[in-house]
């Protein structure tokens, strides 16, 4: 009764503190929303991969930019005890060009249909095994970029250009601040290594092509155990592709890959010659910039909570100082410390809840507004962010009244008689 009456009859100061709580929690919600958004754009694709473990090459530092596997290593990883399912993924960062000429960066992931690397298509259709010019595009990116199923995008890497047609929509998120585009692994490898696409291991190509007779030319056969990286001329690529027109039986893995997704028990932590298995979470935290970005966001939001606690604390402390005489009187007529402090905590909780409520509405509105602009800050305000931030703001606000509560306890009720304390 005391707490609510005081708020009702001293509206201005309590409205002020509510406004401040709501501003602080709005700020912290935006920071945390930005953190969630940055986390999303910096690597949600890794987290949404259907894997218990991800293999990186040994010296890559868990970076897709440096991880690289050859067929032999992939085979050894897949043959590890405990591996139930596996999928090789090739990654290449690209600048794609839309039909209207606009250029934008994107993260191209190459996968093999039918493996666990294949993303779930939520709209349009999946790619068939040989649909080298098909692409599956992330939903958010599609909306933000104004692209549609059926649109064509052209990418150029290392002088190799390829045009893809958007066939389906996936919900895989972003990688390394770029929207994720899923295509088959051949075109990615081609862009990545400027190597001709193939459906047979590279080591077998010269033999199949009749260039080498493995029986007659044993030393050459040994040489091709380490296939030479040969930069083909631009024209050659299409020729080879033409030559490969007749599909051979699909093999589980095609020559090179960036990472390997694995399913099975107790895989993370395993290391072997040339590779290292980690959980998707570990992989995510090693995406370039994620760790420092999380630290930054955490520092900012901690600072926000701290400011909130201090502001609420100072406000209520000033209230308490102003009311020393009155509190002394209340104590003298037999009101307990817990009653008086309880009223104060009730006020903080009530004003905090109102402030957080207002802030939540504004945060959701801001996030919704920002989401309409693809180049705006990637603020992601979901119910989790709101509930967590809101409760934490409330907690810190309540904690902020600690000094006021202590002061209340120290007030000697004898001051009601006009005596010095």
């Amino acid at each position: 009764m005391l707490g609510t009456r005081e708020i009702r009859r001293r509206r201005l100061p309590f409205a002020l503190i509510t406004a401040i709580i709501s501003l602080v929690s709005y700020l912290v919600m935006m920071v945390n929303g930005l953190g969630a958004g940055l986390k999303h754009v910096s690597g949600s694709a890794v987290l949404s991969m259907d894997a218990d473990a991800i293999a990186y090459s040994e010296d890559s530092g868990l970076s897709v930019l440096f991880s690289e596997f050859d067929d032999e290593t992939i085979t050894r990883i897949v043959d590890l005890p405990g591996v139930e399912q596996a999928a090789a993924i090739s990654y290449v960062p690209v600048n794609y060009k839309r039909a209207d000429g606009e250029r934008k960066p994107a993260a191209f992931f190459g996968y093999d249909p039918g493996t666990i690397g294949e993303p779930e298509v939520i709209d349009g259709r999946p790619l068939s095994y040989f649909e080298d010019d098909g692409a599956l595009v992330d939903r958010e990116f599609l909306d933000a970029a104004g692209l549609h199923v059926g649109d064509r995008i052209t990418v150029t890497v290392k002088l190799t250009s390829r045009t893809f047609t958007i066939r389906g929509v996936v919900d895989e998120g972003y990688f390394f601040f770029q929207p994720v585009v899923y295509v088959l692994r051949d075109p990615v490898n081609e862009l990545l290594h400027a190597a001709p696409p193939t459906t047979v291991p590279l080591v077998l190509q010269p033999i199949l092509a009749g260039e080498i007779d493995p029986v007659a030319d044993a030393s050459s056969a040994k040489d091709i155990g380490m296939p030479p990286v040969r930069l083909p001329h631009a024209g050659e690529v299409d020729e080879v592709k033409e030559a490969e027109a007749i599909p051979s039986a699909p093999l589980p893995f095609r020559q090179k890959a960036t990472i390997v997704l694995l399913k099975g028990d107790h895989l993370p932590g395993i290391t072997g010659a040339g590779f290292r298995l980690v959980t998707p979470q570990v992989a995510f935290h090693h995406v370039e910039g994620v760790a420092i970005q999380e630290a930054t966001v955490n520092a900012l939001s901690s600072f926000g909570y701290f400011i909130g606690a201090v502001v609420v604390g100072v406000f209520f402390y000033v209230f308490t100082i102003q009311k020393v005489q009155q509190i002394g009187m209340l104590k003298a007529i037999g009101m307990t410390n817990s009653f008086i402090i309880g009223n104060m905590l009730f006020q903080v909780a009530l004003l905090g809840a109102i402030g957080v409520g207002i802030a939540s509405a504004f945060a959701v509105a801001t996030a919704w507004f920002l989401a309409r602009y693809p180049d705006a800050a990637p603020v992601l305000v979901d119910s989790r962010t709101i509930v967590l931030t809101g409760s934490f703001v409330l907690l810190t606000a309540v904690a902020g009244t600690f000094f006021s509560a202590r002061h209340v306890m120290q007030i000697d009720p004898i001051i009601a008689l006009g005596q010095q304390q």
Binding site: M1, L2, R5, E6, R9, R10, Q325, Q326, M329, L330, K331, A332, I333, G334, M335, T336, N337, G342, D412, P413, I414, A416, L417, G418, Q419
Partner: protein
């Protein structure tokens, strides 16, 4: 008022309080001994610094005696543990202070109801009681006014009503008329006296105003911490129930035929006594 209620009595024995220690020690109250009986409205007078407030604070459990005892209905309140003091003040004592008696953002009625709250909620009983008390003290028409909107006299009347909310046994009043003119002050004190009488509880009022003190049944005088009760025996005048209580407290006064004579003398000393 409530006839089945136990009639309280107060006995103070050798009560002392000193502030500070060593060379700077101030003996604010020295060896005070006196008693109060049901319906007793006592004025505590004395010059500034004589120890009145200190004595009041000890009776109200706001200050620990450095020596001596305070018995209210035979219970030594000096022995109450710290955690019970708030409840003691809330349930047994009714305080009226010089100023700042009321919570400013509450109405007159809410200031009273606050005393009757249980677990944060105002009981129906408290509601009825608050309105009845405001009526008795002639401020019912101001029940919905905020404490800050009341005049000085209204404020003190509401404060008296508030002090009576929890049916206290001992009402302690500190200079209740300091902020009022003498006419209004007298009315407030008379209202207070009437309430104490009606409830047959104990009332002790600190005042430096002799005129105001003369409205009381008796006067305790303080000088340099020493309490002198020139009219001690006046309390022995009264009905049989009071005599029984007094018997327990001051048995010596009832011994021998001298007592009856003394009672008659004392009775004649108190001309303004009604009844």
């Amino acid at each position: 008022m409530n006839e089945s209620r136990f009639r309280p009595f107060l006995r103070v024995v050798g009560l002392s309080h000193s502030y500070g220690a060593g060379a700077g020690e101030v003996h604010a109250v020295k060896d005070a001994t006196f008693s109060m009986f049901p319906g007793d409205f006592v004025a505590l007078v004395g010059p500034s610094g004589s120890g009145k407030t200190t004595l009041l604070a000890m009776l109200g459990a706001l200050l620990k005696p450095t020596a001596g005892r305070i018995f209210l209905n035979g219970e030594d309140i000096g022995l109450l543990p710290g955690r019970k003091l708030a409840a003691y003040r809330r349930e047994t004592i009714g305080f009226v202070f010089q100023a700042n008696n009321l919570v400013p953002y509450l109405t007159a009625r809410e200031n009273l109801q606050m005393m009757g709250m249980r677990r944060g909620a105002v009981t129906k009983e408290a509601r009825l009681r608050a309105d009845r008390l405001l009526e008795e003290l002639g401020v019912a028409h101001r029940a919905s006014a905020l404490a800050t909107e009341l005049s000085g006299g209204e404020r003190q009347r509401v404060a008296i009503a508030r002090a009576l909310m929890n049916e206290p046994q001992l009402v302690l009043v500190d200079e209740p008329t300091a902020s009022l003119d003498s006419e209004r002050g007298r009315q407030v004190v008379e209202a207070l006296n009437a309430e104490v009488k009606a409830r047959r509880v104990l009332g002790l009022m600190v005042t430096h105003d002799r005129a105001m003190a003369s409205t009381a049944d008796r006067i305790l005088e303080m000088r340099d911490g020493v309490v002198s009760d020139q009219t001690l025996a006046s309390v022995l005048i009264g009905d049989e129930g009071q005599q029984a209580v007094a018997t327990k407290v001051q048995p010596s006064m009832w011994r021998g035929g001298a007592t009856a004579r003394r009672r008659r003398q004392l009775r004649s000393l108190l001309p303004r006594r009604r009844r």
